[in-house]
């Protein structure tokens, strides 16, 4: 009986999502995000870097990011207005984009089920390819409104390599809008049955939508600049970083 009840609840949920998404098929969507980053509270320390670190945290709060989506393709990048040469020459701005993981552009392709991230940090441009549906999301029933749009809670786990090259887990909480049929979100998070309007890496970073525009004025073809060649998988890219680490660690020892 319980199984039957859960089946009915799931079916109703899926039908609701499908029905709601009918209203947003084939529309251009542009979402502006901002972010905040966890900072230790009551940190009274003063050092020669204090003002620089303060500027860095200010820069992280100021940075706007935009997700463009049209016809199965999406681009996530830092907003143009903040990408002026003045900002780009600013160390704190550059560090802020690194800490927010927006120093690289993200190219989503739902038909190919991939996210391509253009990495320029090894001297050569690499297109690191991730699977769009790589997160094992658990959908919840909790809801909240973001910019007047009803969002559902979903959770997943993500991982990163620490400075000792050990894999560490991050708990991720996303709030997605089934009424907006875009399975994408900020910094590569994707694979939910609706647009992610808020995303939190618990205890680390939180990205939140500040504006959503439908039928926005952009051409995805002008933004989507994934070239053929120089493609590398996430695993190979990590192996490349690790080999660099080991090579230079050996140099240090010698």
């Amino acid at each position: 009986m319980k199984t039957r009840d859960s089946f009915c609840v799931s079916l109703c949920f899926i039908l609701t999502l499908s029905f709601a998404s009918l209203f947003s098929q084939n529309r251009k969507v542009e979402v502006v995000y901002k972010a905040n980053v966890a900072r230790k509270e009551n940190n009274q320390k003063q050092s020669k870097f204090t003002s620089k670190t303060d500027k860095l945290f200010e820069a992280m709060s100021d940075i706007e990011m935009i997700l463009y989506y049209d016809k199965g393709k999406g681009v996530f990048q830092v907003a143009d207005a903040l990408s002026s040469s003045d900002k780009k020459d600013n160390l704190e701005f550059n560090l802020a984009t690194i800490l927010l993981d927006v120093s690289d552009d993200y190219f989503y392709n739902t038909q190919m089920n991939e996210v391509v991230v253009l990495k320029k940090d090894l001297g050569t441009d690499f297109h690191v390819v991730y699977t769009l549906n790589r997160f094992d999301w658990t959908l919840g029933s909790q809801t909240k409104e973001i910019s007047g749009i009803k969002c559902y809670r979903a959770t997943a786990a993500n991982y990163f390599y620490d400075k000792n090259n050990k894999k560490q887990k991050i708990e991720v909480v996303a709030w997605f809008a089934p009424s907006v049929n875009v399975p994408l979100g900020p910094i590569g998070y994707s694979g939910l049955p609706g647009l992610i309007l808020e995303l939190e890496e618990v205890g680390r970073r939180r990205y939140f939508a500040t504006n959503i525009f439908f039928d926005a004025n952009f051409e995805i073809a002008n933004l989507y600049e994934v070239k053929k060649g120089d493609r590398i998988s996430e695993m190979d890219y990590n192996a490349l970083l690790k080999s660099k680490y080991e090579h230079f660690h050996n140099l240090l020892k010698n």
Binding site: F49, T50, L95, I98, L99, D121, G123, F160, G203
Partner: protein, 87 residues
């Protein structure tokens, strides 16, 4: 211990960018005392700055964050010191 790890990471950072023009000069580290001193100063500065940011953050940075941040701080320090910024 932390400094040793950071130093290793910094070496990786600088090494990782060894293909770029800025950092390829690191290969000639001991050919010029002046340049060596400059690199060492910026190297130490980068590590200290990163440590300061880390101590302010409420979480641990990933290896890739550290590598990228060290590179940017070092590059900024070097160009400021030798006056060759943004050429």
């Amino acid at each position: 211990m932390k400094k040793v790890i950071l130093t290793a990471v910094a070496v990786v950072a600088l090494g990782s960018f060894g293909h770029s023009t800025e950092f390829s000069r690191l290969k000639n580290f001991d050919t010029s005392k002046t340049e060596s001193a400059l690199y060492a100063d910026c190297f130490l500065y980068s590590i200290e700055y990163l440590e300061d940011v880390e101590s302010d953050l409420g979480f641990e940075l990933s290896l890739s964050h550290q590598v990228l941040m060290l590179n940017n701080i070092y590059e900024s320090c070097e160009c400021t010191q030798n006056g060759n910024c943004f050429i």
